[in-house]
Symmetry: C2
Subunit: 337 residues, 2 copies
Amino acid sequence: MANIKDIAKHLGVAVSTVSRAMNNHPDVSEETKQQVMEAIRAFNYRPNAIARGLIRKKTFTIGLMIPEISDPFFSGLARAVERTLFGHGYQVVYGNTDRNPDKEKQFIANAIERQFDGLIITPDFLDATFIEMLSSLEMPVVFLRRRTPQELSMPYVDVDHYQAATVAVNYLLELGHKKIGFIGMPESSFTGTQRLLGYKDTMRKYGLLSESTDIVVAEGRHIPNGRKAMSELYEQNPHLTAVFAANDLLGIGSLEWLAKRDIKVPEQISVMGFDNLEYAELHWIQLTTMEQPTHRMGSKAAELLLQMIADKTQTPPSDLIEARLIERQSCQSLKRT
Amino acid sequence: MANIKDIAKHLGVAVSTVSRAMNNHPDVSEETKQQVMEAIRAFNYRPNAIARGLIRKKTFTIGLMIPEISDPFFSGLARAVERTLFGHGYQVVYGNTDRNPDKEKQFIANAIERQFDGLIITPDFLDATFIEMLSSLEMPVVFLRRRTPQELSMPYVDVDHYQAATVAVNYLLELGHKKIGFIGMPESSFTGTQRLLGYKDTMRKYGLLSESTDIVVAEGRHIPNGRKAMSELYEQNPHLTAVFAANDLLGIGSLEWLAKRDIKVPEQISVMGFDNLEYAELHWIQLTTMEQPTHRMGSKAAELLLQMIADKTQTPPSDLIEARLIERQSCQSLKRT
DNA sequence: CTGAAAGCGCTTACAG
DNA sequence: CTGAAAGCGCTTACAG
């Protein structure tokens, strides 16, 4: 590969001149610039970004820590992040953590060594070591789909899960449901806890909460866990007219169990989800759900990061984004009955 | 951030000594090595990979060009690539092309500037400029889920689509079907062409081919296209007992249309797909299909690339991988009727 | 407007 | 076993 020296030699000018010409520095004669550009084309020369990064202390790459890119929710987020950052000349490097604490730390270490310009992270394990790593990091960081721990002063972008759960339950209530069950995610999840809380508070407000019979916490967050949870919930309380699942996968699992038992949705029971996965649109599913606006979240996180890169002294405010109710066919109104 | 000079100064040794100690060079006394390691820990020092990359001409990053990471098929491929490369110390950088010819070229340009160590690519537009770019590239490249164009001598890893279509149609034939329709992907697709050919040749072999009535080419490769194609196919020939869709999305679209018309699958008509998406497993879908072994393909591509990086003079042989038949509930045997 | 020089943070022959 | 020096491919004050 040709380098800047070859170009300079060929043209009989100094490398500094070539450098200035290709970086559009004002102090270069139009003529020189033309010649340099031509030589660059002739040699098929491309500046070495590594060398440039070393000296400018800027790599134009940002790291995106993500639990699992093949989860469509996260790939949606990732695409949004990427789209807005790409427009500003950045390359985004994904780091799948598989929700593994070591990989999360590895990612940070890697980001340091490779001199990333900034990080957008979705960590699951905020232990002391990890927080320590972050706090000594001289790099802008924004949390995405997570809340920043108190010890750190970095902005986050997340959905207001509590508020969204409130909206979902109110929707069911307005449809005339009073016996509304809840299928929760495992307790370790902050997200799950918030959604559960939104459900509980709303139900309690109307004197409708019955913790012992109407709530089941699933063992995981996937379809099979939803099937099992629904069967348990149904056994506990067959009189439920509606079920709010803490995520779509759990909701779809519920739907599967119900379909196997030939319990009609929404005629016999309404089901509501949370996420608005692509799945939810399928003809057999048609799940009413709360959409997490991945596009807005991802681009917002990217914008915050860009701001922080531009001005390292400021930390912009966090953003709590509202989920949107998507009505489909899985919930029925009880009003006219 | 501390750098190698700080460590050297602190210890009163030369930077070269520090460098050798942390790179485990044999010619360093055990004592020095200990001291250096301690200082590194104390300073929380991490070597600058950019500087190291510049001098070693090795970045330990490889680029993975992909049409769209939120397509679960490609994210599966990506995870497999990443897993095997990660084990060898490489970072993989995804480049989503959105099947856009400019982005495909941009990706290559980017890879050159950033000095990637190798590339795994899934391009959709192999025009002259692109091929020219590749051929002048001083970087190992392997094609994934694509065939290498004649002009280039780079290995590829792909599924044997023709053979797989053959297997699918034979399966239907063995079940006793004789009137088997085909829903194809748009003609531009090599993959689609191969699958169509496999279908045609097999049908023709048994004198069962009726091109004018039994084949419909969809306008795209997604669910709505499948719905539309199925409706056209059904109109053309309502006597079909089975349909082979060129991919699962098309197959699922067919299933949707059939469900809306209350045509029972598999009792009234059998449907077969290709891909084995996660979708296909859903209770309402249970699609019999040909699985493309993403994990094997991705890791194979990564291994080939690793070989090429290790020995740049050799180009290892390409690999054509067999798809696997996954039997679920969407196809019925006509034998006992 | 242009060139010579220093330097980014490392690694690696070359001496000793 | 260790150090001084050169150099990877650029950029950027500093002179002129």
